[in-house]
Symmetry: C2
Subunit: 300 residues, 2 copies
C-alpha cells in the first residue's frame, strides 16, 4: 500500500484548519515524513499513524513553518522508547541547527539520529522503493522529494508459458524473476516471451516551497500524485513568485507538464478561508486537481 496523509496543508501562518507543512508518505510498513511544521506530532497522532513506523524525516528547508515541529517530534520518539536509528535529511545548515538546539535546550535522544545534509539525487534506496531529491526554486536552499516505487516486472502469462512447454514449478519462478531457462528438451525460453511489459512503479512527489521550475516538473514526471505549493490564487501571482511560491494555477500547470495523474494543492495561505476559488483555478488547467486539507488521506 502507498498512502499519502496531509498532516498540515497551511502556509506560514497556521490556523485551526490548516496547520503548518507536513506530509506523511507510507510505503507498506514504512512511513516517511516530508517536512515537520509546528504541531506535526499531534497531527501524526490524529491521523492514527504509529511513531514506530517512522523510517526517515525529510526537511525541505529551514523556514519555521516546515521545521518548528521537529524538536518536539524527535523528543517524543525518544520518550516512546525508540531505539532504532533515524535518518534526518535536510538542506545544508540542518546539522548546525540541531547542534545549536542541543547546546541551548539540552536535547538528549535515546536513539541514534543520523543527520544527512542532502544534495539533489538519490537519498535512500530500500529495494522496493527509493527517495529522491531535487533542488527547488524558493530562495533559501530547498529540496523537493519523491518516493519512487521500483518498477515491477510484467505479468507472467501462465497459458503462454505452458504452451511453450514450461512445466509449472521452479521454472515459472525463475522466468518471473527475469532469468532465462532451458527446458529438458533443450529449448531456451527467455522472460520476454512470457512476461508482459514492465509495470512502472508509483511515484509521489512533494514540491513545497517552490516557484514554478523545471526541477519540480522533472521530480513529478509521470507521478501518481504531486503534492504541490499552492500558496495563493492568480490575483496574487506576482506576490507568490516574488516570495518563492506557486499559485494554484501554476501548480496545475506543472502537474500537466509533468504528466502527473493527480495534483493535491497544499501550503495554502491563511487568507483563504474558502479555498474553492484556488481549486477552480487549478482544475481549469489540470482536471485531476484536489484541494489538500489537514488529515486528508490519498491511498494509491
Amino acid at each position: 500500500m502507498v498512502r499519502v496523509v496531509i498532516l498540515g496543508s497551511g502556509a506560514s501562518l497556521p490556523t485551526l484548519y490548516r496547520q503548518c507543512a507536513a506530509v506523511a508518505v507510507q510505503y507498506e510498513g514504512d512511513v516517511y515524513l516530508f517536512d515537520c511544521g509546528e504541531g506535526t506530532q499531534l497531527q501524526w497522532r490524529r491521523a492514527g499513524l504509529r511513531f514506530g513506523r517512522l523510517r526517515g524525516i525529510f526537511i525541505s528547508h529551514l523556514h519555521g513553518d516546515h521545521l518548528n515541529g521537529l524538536v518536539g517530534l524527535l523528543q517524543t520518539l525518544s520518550l516512546n522508547d525508540r531505539s532504532d536509528s533515524l535518518r534526518l535529511y535536510g538542506p545544508p545548515g540542518i546539522a548546525d541547527y540541531w547542534a545549536a538546539l542541543g547546546r541551548y535546550q539540552g536535547v538528549r535522544l535515546g536513539y541514534p539520529l543520523e543527520i544527512v545534509e542532502a544534495a539533489p539525487g538519490l537519498l535512500l534506496d530500500a529495494t522496493s522503493h527509493r527517495i529522491e531529491a531535487a533542488r527547488l526554486d524558493h530562495g533559501p536552499p530547498t529540496l523537493g522529494f519523491a518516493l519512487v516505487e521500483s518498477d515491477k516486472p510484467g505479468r507472467f502469462d501462465v497459458d503462454l508459458a505452458t504452451a511453450l512447454g514450461v512445466q509449472p514449478g521452479p521454472l515459472f519462478g525463475r522466468l518471473q524473476n527475469g532469468e532465462t531457462v532451458r527446458l529438458d528438451n533443450g529449448q531456451v525460453v527467455v522472460p520476454d516471451q512470457v512476461l508482459g511489459p514492465t509495470r512502472a512503479g508509483r511515484r509521489v512527489a512533494y514540491c513545497v516551497d517552490t516557484r514554478p521550475c523545471r526541477a519540480a516538473v522533472d521530480l513529478a514526471s509521470n507521478a501518481t500524485v504531486l503534492v504541490c505549493d499552492s500558496t495563493f490564487g492568480s490575483e496574487l501571482t506576482e506576490e507568490a513568485n516574488a516570495r518563492g511560491h506557486c499559485t494554484a494555477a501554476q501548480a496545475a500547470q506543472m502537474a500537466a507538464e509533468a504528466n502527473a495523474q493527480r495534483l493535491v494543492l497544499t501550503h495554502v495561505s491563511a487568507r483563504y478561508h474558502d479555498a474553492r476559488p484556488l481549486l477552480a483555478e487549478a482544475t481549469a488547467v489540470f482536471a485531476e486537481s484536489s484541494m489538500g486539507r489537514d488529515l486528508m488521506e490519498i491511498v494509491l
Copy 2:
C-alpha cells in the same frame, strides 16, 4: 478582570488532551504568557485570546516542552502585523537560543523583540500590577512567575466623611487618593479616618517545573491561585523528585504552606489517562485543589 487560561496542561510528551506547558494570565486588557510549548499559538486561538493583547512572554526554562512553540508564535505575531515591541523574559541562554534560530532559520520579525535574561525579583511593573520571578528547583536554571496586583486603598466611608464635615466633591477624591485635606473650618481630615483597611491585590503564581521548594512557597504566598507542577502521583514520588518535579500531593502541600486560596494542578504526565487519582491525592492535603485541563479558564 484577572483571568487564568491553561493553554497546555501536559508534561514533556504532549497528547491530544494535554498539550505542552503554556498559561495565559490576563490583567484587564493585558495578557501575559507563561511558557510556550509546541502548539501554544493554536491553543491561544482556541481560547479566543487576541494576539494584539500580548504584553510579555515569560519562559521558565529552556526545555523543549516549555519553549518549542516560541518561534512559531513570534513569527505569527509578525505576520499579524504587530509593530509594538515585545519583551521576552527567560533564563540565561535564551538570548543565545534566539540568536541561533535567527542564524539557521532566518527568522525576521516586523517588531522589536527585547530579550531579558531574567534574575529572581521584580521583572515588570505596570502600576496596577507587576510580575515577579523566583528561582525554582528543577535542574537547569528555572524561574517561577507571579502576577501580583497592587494593593488597593480601603473602601471610602461616605457616611463617616460627611459626619466629619467633608463636603461631597473634590475633597472626597483627594481623601480616596490618600491625601490629607483641610476643611474650610480649618479642621484636618486624614485618609485613615475615612478609609477602611488596605485591600490586598490578587496574586497568580506559576511554579512549573520544580521540586517542592521554599522559593515556590514564597512566590505563592497568599496567592489567589497557584498553578503548580504536578507531574506524577504519590506512587512515583522518588522519580518525580529525581527528575525535578512535584507530585500532586507535594503541590498541595506547597499550596497549604503558602496559604494559597486555590491550587490548579498542571504539567501532568501523559501516563495518566485518568488524572482523578492525582486530584484525590491533592485534595486530601489541600481542599481547594482543581485538576488543570487544556483551555480551562479561571476568572478571579
